[in-house]
Each structure stands twice: as structure tokens, then as C-alpha cells.
């Protein structure tokens, strides 16, 4: 009888141990934080909206929503909005707390992009013929991109004259040998790596000068410079 009582007591101790280890085991009722954003990438300044109502709690309900936006800003509530004024990469975090005080967090990266530069250029000389601007063939044309703008700094000006020739610089010179319509493309790059292009058509009339040697033995036409 005493032996049976011993075994029964031992069994009860084991059951208590099981219950205790069950408590020490994994918390299977942690709330789950989840949210959506109106945008994940945009040019500053912009306002993003965040919706945390997808979050849930296996036991009970969520009683608290806390937001941080990665730039020092914060908010509370299932919905939040935030304005990003400076470019950069920001980590948005939502922390939810359920009625038992258990918390969980979820994050999302938001890219606030630097505004790209604005590319534009002028060229001269040019004449007006039949209401259109035209340039004579073999005439030196000055292309000026100094009117391009950026909130930071433009670090490069790259030209493509449409005749296979290219150049770099804020102000460059070029002349066309053959008549035709050429698309001149200016690509400007700012200090953040942003690029923008501006394209204009240039109408060329006439032909090369009579003394032009296009076989390589006569004058050589350099981009942005005179002949040699």
C-alpha cells in the first residue's frame, strides 16, 4: 500500500513538472504586428499613410499601437500618417500590445528619394527660317546647360549630339558636317546620383565647307573645338 502511495505521489509530481515546463515553454499566444503603407518609395517631400489594422492577438485583442517612423517621429493608434521631408532610408516600426501586456513589432523600410535635377539647355547661333530655328552646317554651335537646376549640386553634364559625337561640360561647342535634324540630348547628374535628360531637335542646313577633307588627310573636326 505504501509503495502504491509512493508511486501515485511520484506520478503527481511528474504531472506538476509537466505543467511547469509547459509554462516555461514557448509563448504561443504572442500578438502579431502587421501593417500596410500607402507608399514605400517616393520623392520628398511626401506624406505616407500606415494601416496597422491587420495586426491581431490570438488571445484577446490589441489594446495599443505604437509607431516610430525612423526619423524621430512617432504616433499611436491603428492608423498613422507621417511626412518625410528629407531624403534617406527610414525604418518604420509598429509595436502592438495585447490585453495581457505581451508585445510584438513589425518593420518596413521606406525610401525617401532625392528630387532629380532639372535639365535644360540653349544653343546659339541660330536663325529663324519659316518659323523654325535652323543652323548652318559646319557652323560652330555653343550648347549651354547652365540653366539646369538641382536642390543640391549638379556634378556632371553629358552631351550626345545625335551624330555619334559626345561631349562633357556645362558649356560645349560642336559643329555638324551634314544637313539634317539631330536630337541633342543633355544628361545631368546631381550629387545624389539622380539623372535627368533634356532633348531638343536641331535643324542643320547646308553642307561641309569646300575644303573639308573627310578621308582623314585634311582638317579634323573636333567636338567642342576648332579644326586642326
Amino acid at each position: 500500500m505504501r509503495t502504491k502511495r509512493f508511486y501515485l505521489l511520484l506520478g503527481l509530481l511528474v504531472l506538476v513538472g509537466l505543467a511547469l515546463t509547459g509554462c516555461l515553454g514557448e509563448q504561443s499566444n504572442v500578438p502579431k504586428a502587421m501593417f500596410t503603407a500607402s507608399t514605400q518609395q517616393k520623392i520628398v517631400p511626401f506624406t505616407a499613410s500606415f494601416d496597422g489594422t491587420l495586426s491581431y492577438a490570438p488571445k484577446g485583442k490589441i489594446v495599443s499601437y505604437n509607431w516610430t517612423f525612423g526619423d524621430g517621429g512617432g504616433a499611436t493608434g491603428p492608423h498613422a500618417t507621417h511626412e518625410y521631408k528629407s531624403n534617406g532610408t527610414y525604418v518604420v516600426q509598429l509595436t502592438v500590445i495585447d490585453a495581457q501586456g505581451v508585445s510584438n513589432s513589425s518593420t518596413m523600410t521606406v525610401q525617401a528619394l532625392d528630387p532629380p535635377p532639372v535639365a535644360t539647355f540653349t544653343y546659339s547661333p541660330k536663325s529663324v527660317m519659316n518659323g523654325e530655328y535652323v543652323v548652318g552646317a559646319s557652323e560652330w554651335i555653343t550648347f549651354d546647360g547652365s540653366d539646369s537646376t538641382d536642390d543640391g549640386q549638379i556634378v556632371s553634364y553629358d552631351w550626345n549630339f545625335g551624330d555619334g559625337e559626345t561631349a562633357a561640360g556645362q558649356v560645349v561647342k560642336h559643329r555638324y558636317l551634314w544637313p539634317g535634324t539631330y536630337n541633342v540630348v543633355l544628361t545631368v547628374t546631381d550629387n545624389s546620383g539622380g539623372k535627368t535628360q533634356h532633348v531638343e531637335s536641331v535643324d542643320i542646313l547646308g553642307g561641309p565647307p569646300c575644303n573639308a577633307d573627310l578621308t582623314g588627310g585634311g582638317p579634323v573636326w573636333h567636338v567642342g573645338g576648332g579644326d586642326s
Binding site: 509503495t3 508511486y7 511528474v14 504561443s28 502579431k32 502587421m34 500596410t36 500607402s38
Partner: protein, 260 residues
């Protein structure tokens, strides 16, 4: 590795001592429903997937209805083993158990006026093989026998996933990113288990038993062959596999005297 060898050697020594000292040998085999917690998978991953599916099912401009995933954890568990009765009331022994559970869903959504199709095809499977050693204390034998079981188990766990979870492009960006593609993860766990058994002797040495038990296991950290941890919802937090839970089993047992 050394720890496992030490434990294994200790178990063999104890069983060997039991064999040398033992009376009748009992063999048993059985099966029955088993319910495992798998909290991180059910409440975390499956819960998150189902919240998104429910929202997509109700999103204007998105047509289609995908059924939510069922929870993972219910299965039929099989066990076989042997016990050596050291006295009329106490036995030592060991056994092997196996269980497998699965959950899946599939469907598709159309959006952008029908020009975009987003496919949903998710399936999870979890299997475990357990090696259990323990004792049985029979504290009532009045024709019907009532016993308490206690044991220590070591489990090898496998988890398979196959996820295609395409969210329509018009749906706002989500803070979680379901892992796409197939995955196969492995881990191990250990813990203690106990329960009560009601035995019904049918003939001399042969009987039927109904066992109700609970096991409490340490949640298993799962990794794949490349060492990547199991993170099905892409939130950066690994999901452990917790096989703690209740099981009910019907066993057939056969008792026989040892030849020595």
C-alpha cells in the same frame, strides 16, 4: 554530440539493468489522435497568412476567394515499444513514436480589370520521430488496471514548406514578406511526458489499453541544409516548432515471461 552519446549510453545501461533484473516483458503498439501546439506556426505564420487572405477576399477590385489555411497540429500518432516489469507495479521501458501533420490552401486572385492573376498555393508539413524512455506505475489492479506513465523523449523533427504567395500589385506594401518557394528544415527537441493508462486485460498476457498523455517539449530551432532558420513570414524572427500537446492512444499489449 557528446551529450547525446552520454544520454544514449545511460539509457542503454538502465535498460540493460532492467533486462537483467526484470520479470515479464511487455510489447505494445498503438495509435491515436495527437494535438501539438505549434504556436509560432499556427498563431504566427498561418494566422498572418489568413489575415492577408481574408483582406484580399474583401478588397474591392480584387476578384477571387482563397480559403484560409487550416491549423497545423492535429494528426494520428503511432507508437511501439517494450517494457520490462521489475515488479508487479513498476516497469521500465522505451519506445518509438511517429506523427505527421499537414495544412494547405490554394487559389488565385484577378485584379487590374482581369489583366493580372496572382496565385496562392501554400502547403506545410511537419513530421517527427520520437525516442521515449520511461516508467509505468500501476497503482490499481482490480481486473481493470490503472497506471501512470512518465518518460523522457528526444524528437527529430522535419518541416517542409512550399509557398507561392503572390500579392496583387495594387495591394498596398506589407510589412511582412512570405518566403517563396520550397523549403525543408530540420531540428530536434526533448522534453518530458506523462499520462494515465486504463488497461483492459483480454486474455492471459494480452490486453487493450487506453492512454491519455501530455508531453512538454522544448521548442525546436529549425534550420535548412544551408543553415538558414525557419522564417516563413519573412518578419526576421525565426519560428520554432513546439510539439507539446495532448495525445490519446489505443494500444495492444502483449506480456511474456523472459527466458532468463
Amino acid at each position: 554530440m557528446k551529450g547525446r552519446v552520454t544520454v544514449g549510453a545511460t539509457v542503454i545501461l538502465l535498460l540493460g539493468a532492467a533486462i537483467a533484473w526484470a520479470g515479464p516483458l511487455e510489447l505494445y503498439v498503438g495509435a491515436g489522435p495527437s494535438l501539438a501546439t505549434l504556436g509560432a506556426i499556427n498563431n504566427g505564420v498561418i494566422g498572418a497568412f489568413n489575415v492577408i487572405l481574408t483582406d484580399l477576399n474583401n478588397t474591392p477590385g480584387v476578384t477571387g476567394d482563397v480559403s484560409p489555411l487550416g491549423t497545423l497540429g492535429t494528426s494520428i500518432a503511432y507508437q511501439a515499444g517494450e517494457r520490462f516489469w521489475l515488479s508487479n507495479w513498476f516497469a521500465l521501458g522505451g519506445g518509438v513514436d511517429f506523427t505527421r501533420m499537414a495544412a494547405s490552401t490554394s487559389g488565385s486572385y484577378n485584379s487590374s480589370g482581369g489583366s493580372e492573376t496572382s496565385n496562392i498555393d501554400v502547403s506545410f508539413g511537419c513530421s517527427s520521430i520520437g525516442f521515449v524512455v520511461g516508467g509505468r506505475f500501476m497503482f490499481l489492479d482490480a481486473g481493470i488496471q490503472l497506471s501512470a506513465d512518465v518518460g523522457f523523449g528526444y524528437y527529430l523533427i522535419g518541416f517542409d514548406s512550399d509557398i507561392t504567395f503572390e500579392v496583387p500589385s495594387g495591394y498596398p506594401p506589407l510589412s511582412i514578406s512570405p518566403a517563396q518557394g520550397k523549403g525543408s528544415y530540420h531540428g530536434s527537441s526533448y522534453g518530458i511526458q506523462g499520462g494515465l493508462t486504463l488497461g483492459f486485460p483480454i486474455t492471459q498476457g494480452f490486453g487493450l489499453e487506453i492512454c491519455v498523455g501530455y508531453r512538454s517539449l522544448v521548442p525546436a530551432a529549425m534550420t535548412d541544409a544551408q543553415g538558414q532558420t525557419l522564417d516563413l513570414d519573412g518578419d526576421g524572427t525565426p519560428e520554432p516548432i513546439d510539439l507539446s500537446g495532448i495525445n490519446v492512444r489505443i494500444d495492444l499489449s502483449l506480456k511474456m515471461g523472459l527466458p532468463f
